[in-house]
């Protein structure tokens, strides 16, 4: 018998009495956890499923590049935007993507501070999801500029034109919020990867893999002194990322709330946007986690417990979002402002009413099923609900952006917005980009944090007598 297996014989006693599924299935050791997760990365060759999935995502990415190339050549006239709806798919998709990213930071930072150790098995790929979602989100405002090659004008830098950004504009705040968010998410993710990169370096057999992971691991050797600083840095980063994640969607909501458009100019926007972001983000984590654990046989590490916990967070944030819709409607009536009243009436009964009512169905009605323990324990049901919530959150942004703009103060300037083929190809293209990056990530980096999984093992406790 392998001596490694013998050393840390885990006890099966820590399955709680209340029949809650465990965070990690019993029977694992330091060695088995390490080998199982690193084997996904360190095998030679490619699986067929991976090749087909990546190939499809790559084709969609090419569609994105083609759409961008055509956009740069011709201009944003190829999109459906015009007066009065100047913010079309670009902003809808920007807000949708950036919201999705929020769950990753919530899992990695807020749940770390709250000592929720179940997060250990989902934080890595949730953070990767954040990064890729922010990458997709970041494209849209830049493309929407009309002259994307001048995007660097948004940053304050000394220039020969003697021009500076207008710091009273929420759009400039957005530049700072999103770029800070992307930078901090990347740093946090990379710091979390360092010990696992060292594991891969020590376990890799191929020379190229050894040096690839070796360079990235920067000579990490698991020294106690290093761990101490490392833990401190992670904790500080978590403390910094927590207010950051709340601020990012707040600033995104300011893009709307600071304006005077009926339907946008509302004080409920920041908390309602943040809750919506976390709601959609957890839906996306669930959408990705369920097929991943199945395909790579990770049911031992991403257990039903994780899915149930995420379902509960979705239910809670879904209720906050529902409260936001309610207050929006209430305030429109209570404000006695005829434009506000017209706006909400137009949402419910106007030309875009199918969007509004499907949004209610997806975001308010469907998640109520999560109250039932049976639904929370059914993996297919959770998967379907997560996808419905993803669609619902996209519809929410569509309703907020489009219906508020298309009928503003003067009936003479009313108009309709319909996306063109280029709007769709750009949107579907970013989904392709997101998935392509995700496929590369699961092939080349450990999708579950190995060293944090070791911490979950019963043998990890140093207090027991040797």
């Amino acid at each position: 018998m392998d001596i490694e297996q013998e050393a840390q014989r885990p006890s099966t006693e820590d399955v709680p009495a209340r029949q809650r599924p465990p965070v990690i299935e019993p029977g694992h050791t330091f060695a088995s956890v390490t080998d199982k997760i690193s084997a996904i990365v360190l095998t030679r060759g490619l699986r067929w499923g991976w090749v087909i999935g990546f190939g499809a995502a790559f084709l969609l990415t090419m569609a994105l590049l083609f759409s961008i190339a055509y956009l740069v050549a011709v201009g944003i006239g190829i999109w459906g935007v015009n007066v009065p709806v100047g913010w079309g798919f670009a902003i809808v998709n920007f807000v949708w993507w950036i919201g999705i990213g929020h769950a990753g930071t919530l899992i990695s930072a807020i749940l770390l501070l709250l000592r929720q150790s179940w997060r250990n098995s989902i934080n890595r790929f949730a953070e990767a999801m954040t990064l890729f979602a922010v990458a997709c989100a970041g494209l849209y405002p830049i493309l929407h500029l009309g002259r994307p090659w001048l995007a660097y004008w948004l940053f304050p830098y000394p220039n020969t034109m003697s021009l500076w950004p207008q710091f009273r504009s929420p759009l400039i705040w957005d530049v700072f919020a999103v770029s800070t968010y992307a930078t901090i998410s990347l740093l946090f993710w990379y710091v979390g990867l360092i010990p696992d990169l060292a594991t891969l370096r020590d376990r890799a057999e191929h020379r190229f893999a050894k040096s690839f992971y070796g360079i990235l691991a920067m000579g990490w050797r698991g020294s106690a002194r290093h761990w101490e600083q490392y833990e401190m840095a992670s904790l500080l980063l978590a403390g910094l990322a927590t207010p950051l994640v709340v601020s990012v969607h707040t600033v995104v909501s300011f893009d709307f709330a600071i304006s005077i458009i009926p339907g946008w100019h509302a004080t409920v926007f920041p908390p309602y946007f943040v809750a919506g972001a976390i709601y959609s983000g957890f839906a996306m984590v669930m959408t990705l986690a369920i097929p991943l654990r199945k395909m790579y046989g990770l049911e031992d590490f991403i257990t039903l417990r994780h899915l149930q916990n995420m379902a509960k967070i979705m239910l809670a944030t879904g209720l906050i979002v529902a409260y936001g819709y309610m207050i929006e409607t209430f305030m429109a009536w209570y404000s006695a402002n005829e434009y506000e009243r017209f706006m909400i009436w137009n949402r419910m009964t106007g030309p875009y009413r199918p969007f509004y009512w499907s949004l209610m169905l997806c975001n308010v009605v469907t998640p109520q099923l999560l109250w039932l323990g049976k639904v929370r324990s059914s993996v297919p049901a959770l998967f379907v609900i997560a996808i419905i919530v993803n669609i619902g959150m996209w519809l929410e942004r569509f309703v907020i952006v489009i219906t508020s703009l298309h009928r503003d103060f003067l009936p003479s300037s009313w108009g309709m917005y319909w996306p063109t083929i280029w709007d769709w190809s750009t949107f579907i293209g970013t989904i392709g980009l997101f998935l392509a990056l995700l496929f590369l990530f699961i092939r080349f980096l450990p999708m579950i944090s190995i060293f944090e999984m070791r911490l979950l093992l019963p043998g990890a406790d140093a207090k027991e007598k040797p």
Binding site: I3, E4, A7, Q8, T29, F30, A31, T34, D35, L163, W164, F167, R168, I172, W173, F176, A177, T180, T183, I184, L187, Y190, V191, P195, T199, D202, R203, M218, G219, W220, R221, G222, S223, A224, R225, H226, W227, E228, Q229, M232, A233, L236, L237, L240, P243, L244, S247, V251, F254, F451, E452, R454, L455, G459, A460, D461, A462, E464, K465, P466
Partner: protein, 178 residues
């Protein structure tokens, strides 16, 4: 100082508790230049090795203050001194409007300081380190626990230290070449 023939002596342990116990005894025996290696962070080790709390939090605090100040001052200088614009009659020094950027700059600089500070304090990246000369040390990132007493320690004496390490009941003790 003449270079010692070896970098140090390394003992391998099979459980975290054994490593913590060994680290405690090594500290009590008066060794200072030694280090423990584990596949995941072990809180008890810091106490056993009598580590002082580092100054990383201070680095991050300074980073945050510098970031926040530079963010605010940049906006003040641009909006009030260098490029004053009348935006709907608002004051040039629009303090509330300057808060979001100040906040983001604080977080950005503090976060970068945390990462670069952690790497700097730990002396990373480090392309070469003698502990990797022990073949079994590859398990330090998988399932095993190591303790290495360095020859740079004033109390280090090859046979004496080897005997001491053997007394800690390790799986094995090996020499670490430079």
């Amino acid at each position: 100082m003449t270079k010692k023939p070896i970098y140090g002596l390394m003992a391998e342990f099979e459980s975290p508790a054994a490593l913590v116990e060994a680290a405690r005894k090594t500290t009590q025996a008066g060794y200072r230049n030694f280090d423990a290696y584990s596949p995941y962070p072990i809180e008890e080790l810091h106490e056993a090795m009598e580590h002082r709390r580092g100054y990383l939090p201070l680095i991050v605090l300074i980073g945050g203050i510098v970031g926040g100040l530079s963010g605010y001052l940049l906006q003040y200088w641009v909006s009030v001194i260098n490029y004053p614009l009348n935006i709907g009659g608002r004051p040039l020094h629009s303090m509330p409007a300057f808060i979001p950027v100040t906040f983001e700059m604080t977080i950005l600089a503090a976060g970068i300081a945390a990462v670069l500070g952690m790497l700097a304090v730990n002396g990373l990246p480090m392309p070469y380190h003698p502990v990797f000369n022990v073949p079994r040390f590859a398990l330090a990132s998988r399932s095993r626990f190591f303790l290495c007493i360095e020859s740079a320690d004033p109390r280090f004496e090859h046979h004496e230290t080897a005997r001491f390490l053997e007394s800690l009941a390790p799986r094995e003790v090996s020499e670490v070449a430079h």
